[in-house]
Symmetry: C2
Subunit: 128 residues, 2 copies
């Protein structure tokens, strides 16, 4: 149902992603989403849905909405002149560096979890 549709209501999206309509409207309030209107009712297109996915992925990675804006802006850039393009590539590289740091942190944490589990298992074997 979700991916082949042409348009979505606000509750379609709220149901699909398990968030409130208030959140979706909030993202619009700060300019992260700009859905069409039919009368006064919001109509979301596939591109809006994609942006919402990017926002929520950002949230899972601990991004603020302003940080997610950078990601969303990369999704439909102005495609202007050369210097803008080079600026964009710079932004992309920045995001990469941030993700690399997070990858590093995750690996460290995974390692620590392994240590913790090992000592748990050892303690279990001692006790019997």
């Amino acid at each position: 149902m979700p991916n082949t549709m042409l348009e979505y209501s606000i509750s379609d999206l709220s149901r699909e992603f398990g968030i409130t309509t208030r959140s979706i409207r909030h993202y619009e309030d700060i300019g992260l989403l700009t859905p069409q209107r039919r009368g006064q009712t919001r109509i979301y297109a596939a591109a809006d849905r994609t942006k919402l996915k990017l926002i929520l992925r950002g949230k899972r990675l601990g991004f603020s909405l302003e940080e997610s804006r950078e990601i969303v802006d990369l999704y439909d850039p102005a495609k202007g002149n050369t210097s803008q393009l080079k600026h964009l590539i710079g932004k992309i590289q920045q995001q990469r560096e941030k993700l690399k740091q997070q990858l590093n942190d995750i690996h460290q944490m995974m390692h620590d979890l392994q240590d913790a589990e090992n000592s748990c298992l050892a303690a279990l074997k001692e006790t019997g």
Copy 2:
């Protein structure tokens, strides 16, 4: 200087990690750190420093302080009876699942960044 020391002042730690003393005291307020005292002055041991590292790593991964508490609690657990140990292993597994989701998100985002960069580079070749 940092790693071989026996004790640290609050400003030692704030300097090393680039955070304010207010933050460090805040972590103590909510029970994430419990340094010794000399008089009324806080004295931090290596274990406190390690906990602080865990907290800050959690922050970089978007963990709330309450979520980081789970990680810190894994670092020096009560090591009680069998059922507590099994509970602990459950917690560890939960953290692993969360990190796996984050790994997934990072890989997706890396992929998207690659796409974005490619279309930038393509646009640059057209123009230039």
